[in-house]
């Protein structure tokens, strides 16, 4: 087996036996389910009151449809997942260097680039598993509490189920595409930082700062991968999808922004990986 395969095996072994990787897999799904349950509790009371008053609103009608809640759950889960993946990437290399265990793998079986690529792939795999679990749990929870279907008002179909599914699929795709770049950013910080604590605080601090200041960047924000991630101050396409699948027609789509969302994270990922390779080559372990 070559160094990369050994390094990947090593990373997966650590992931299987440590808490942080389990947290990344489980936390987004748990939080999404929790949010859906809270929505259900809140909305059940309001809808009952309006039904008793024989005055159901359009919002009550929309809220009976599971798709909107599914998208909300996914947004919450992906927001948490994005932050956790950045933190995990920032932690991975720097913690191994703090404990000294990185020395064994570098001396015995893997080159520095092989180790970095193994870490990248391993964290991406954990992210992928987490997303799959998030989709399953969010879908199941939403379907238990509401019904999936088209949005129909007064016998008129505002949006068909096929259109909803297509929008959700696009929204999820565009929300997931920036995640590898986010992971690569965390890993870059991990290699540069002096310690694991410094790496995590720096990576999360910068990510949150971008979130806060992205509105001030105007159109330039479209060239920053993090602008397309679901986040605390959400400007991702999934935010728009949340309204589209509820039948609202006030969503303004900008095709060029969607194209940037689709392609910008890829060169960003390559730049981050390239910088990581340069820094790790120079860095003492």
């Amino acid at each position: 087996m070559n160094g990369f395969a050994i390094a990947l095996q090593s990373e997966l072994f650590i992931a299987r036996h440590t808490f942080s990787s389990k947290l990344i897999v489980l936390a987004p799904a748990v939080l999404a389910v929790l949010q859906i349950l809270l929505e259900w509790i809140t909305e059940a009371g309001g809808a009952t009151r309006n039904n008793l008053l024989s005055n159901p609103t359009f919002d009550d009608l929309v809220n009976l449809n599971a798709y909107g809640h599914f998208v909300d759950g996914m947004k919450t889960g992906l927001t948490v997942l994005g932050l956790l993946l950045v933190a995990q990437a920032a932690y991975s290399f720097s913690y191994d260097r703090d404990t000294g265990m990185i020395r064994h793998i570098l001396i015995r079986r893997a080159s520095k680039p092989a180790l970095i690529f193994a870490k990248l792939l391993q964290i991406n795999l954990i992210g992928l598993i987490s997303i799959l679990l998030l989709i399953i749990t969010t879908y199941v929870t939403s379907s238990l509490l509401w019904e999936f279907g088209a949005i129909v008002e007064d016998g008129f179909e505002l949006i068909s189920e096929e259109e909803i599914l297509a929008e959700i699929s696009t929204g999820l795709q565009l929300a997931i595409i920036p995640l590898p770049a986010a992971i690569a950013f965390g890993l870059l910080v991990s290699v540069i930082a002096q310690s694991a604590t410094q790496a995590i605080t720096t990576a999360l601090g910068i990510t949150l700062a971008i979130d806060i200041f992205k509105s001030m960047l105007g159109d330039y924000a479209d060239y920053v991968y993090a602008r397309f991630q679901p986040s605390l101050i959400d400007a991702s396409y999934l935010q728009d999808v949340s309204r589209i699948v509820r039948g609202y027609s006030d969503v303004m789509l900008n095709e060029s922004v969607l194209q940037l969302n689709l392609w910008m994270p890829i060169p960003t990922l390559i730049i981050f990986v390239g910088l990581t390779m340069i820094f790790i080559h120079k860095k003492s372990i």
Partner: protein
């Protein structure tokens, strides 16, 4: 002159390393013969760990050529576990159990021994299910050694291997090093301040001072070349004094309050000294030959060079 070719397992030539303007290593040369145990000694901050890190590719030397088993420091991983390092800190995952750490190490090397075997070898089998962070420093040190012994390394580089070990632990590690060296032909490079332990175990010694190896040879050559001293006590100190003063090959180093005289001999053996006193009718109560230790040699060299 007959020269015996030696097979080198490690060689460093013209090694230089600077931290900013501070030169840690200056044109350093170091060799390790296959099957030998080399002790690297030096004062605090003399650059011992820097040498080991440069050898293992964890730090980059500013200049110089390094070869370990014909691998350069940046591609040691191609040796596939034939070279391993044991560091002054445990360097294992604190949140994995001891067994998990060893199973993880098994992935990194072609294992000659199972985790259970090395646990037993180091006497730590009862801690197999303990998280590493819960272990004492001594047991963490044993775990590090167990980690290194899973494969069948040709060269083991140890930085301060005796730190944190109790007397029994030190004996175990010394015995283990000796056993691996004799049975498997494993070569060792040990960096330590514990000179008596190194004297006990090493076949070769290299003394590092001011960034250079100022002395390097077989330990028996080094110690035999250093002159022994004689501690002498006689019934008649005045006769002793006049006898010594009259003999050009005897030099007094020290006179202590208990009546002992420490002497240095030139071209004269201790038995010849004894005969001299007996023939001169000066009865000898005690005559102790004091062979120089590695510590004496080290102190002498570092003091001389500092002066």
């Amino acid at each position: 002159m007959q020269t015996k070719s030696k097979e080198l397992i490690l060689s460093a030539k013209g090694l230089n390393k600077r931290y900013g303007s501070y030169e840690v290593l200056r044109d350093l040369n170091l060799e390790l013969e296959k099957g030998s145990i080399l002790g690297l000694v030096g004062l605090n901050g003399s650059g011992k760990t820097t040498i080991l890190n440069c050898l293992l590719g964890l730090q980059t030397a500013n200049s110089g050529v390094i070869s370990l088993l014909n691998f350069g420091p940046q591609n040691l991983h191609q040796s596939k576990g034939k070279i391993v390092g044991i560091f002054d800190s445990p360097s294992l995952h604190p949140n994995l159990t001891l067994r998990e750490n060893l199973e993880h190490a098994s992935l990194l090397t072609a294992t000659a021994r199972t985790p259970q075997q090395v646990e037993k070898l180091l006497g730590i089998e009862k801690f197999a299910k303990f998280k590493l962070r819960k272990l004492s420093l001594g047991n963490k040190r044993r775990a590090s050694i167990a980690h290194a012994l899973l494969g069948n390394p040709d060269l083991i580089i140890l930085d301060e291997p005796f730190n944190g070990l109790d007397a029994g632990g030190v004996d175990d590690v010394l015995a283990l090093i000796k056993q691996l060296n004799e049975t498997d032909g494993t070569s060792f490079l040990l960096s330590s301040h514990q000179l008596p332990y190194l004297e006990n175990i090493c076949s070769h010694i290299a003394i590092l001072h001011h960034g250079k190896i100022c002395l390097s040879d077989r330990i028996d050559n080094l110690l035999s070349s250093a002159s022994s001293t004689i501690k002498l006590r006689t019934a008649s100190p005045s006769s002793t004094s006049s006898l010594i003063d009259s003999h050009p090959n005897i030099q007094v180093l020290e006179l202590d309050a208990q009546g002992y005289t420490t002497l240095s001999l030139t071209d004269m053996s201790s038995s010849e000294l004894n005969r001299l006193f007996v023939e001169s009718n000066v009865p000898v109560d005690e005559l102790i030959v004091q062979r120089p230790s590695l510590k004496d040699l080290f102190q002498k060299i570092t003091n001389e060079r500092t002066e």
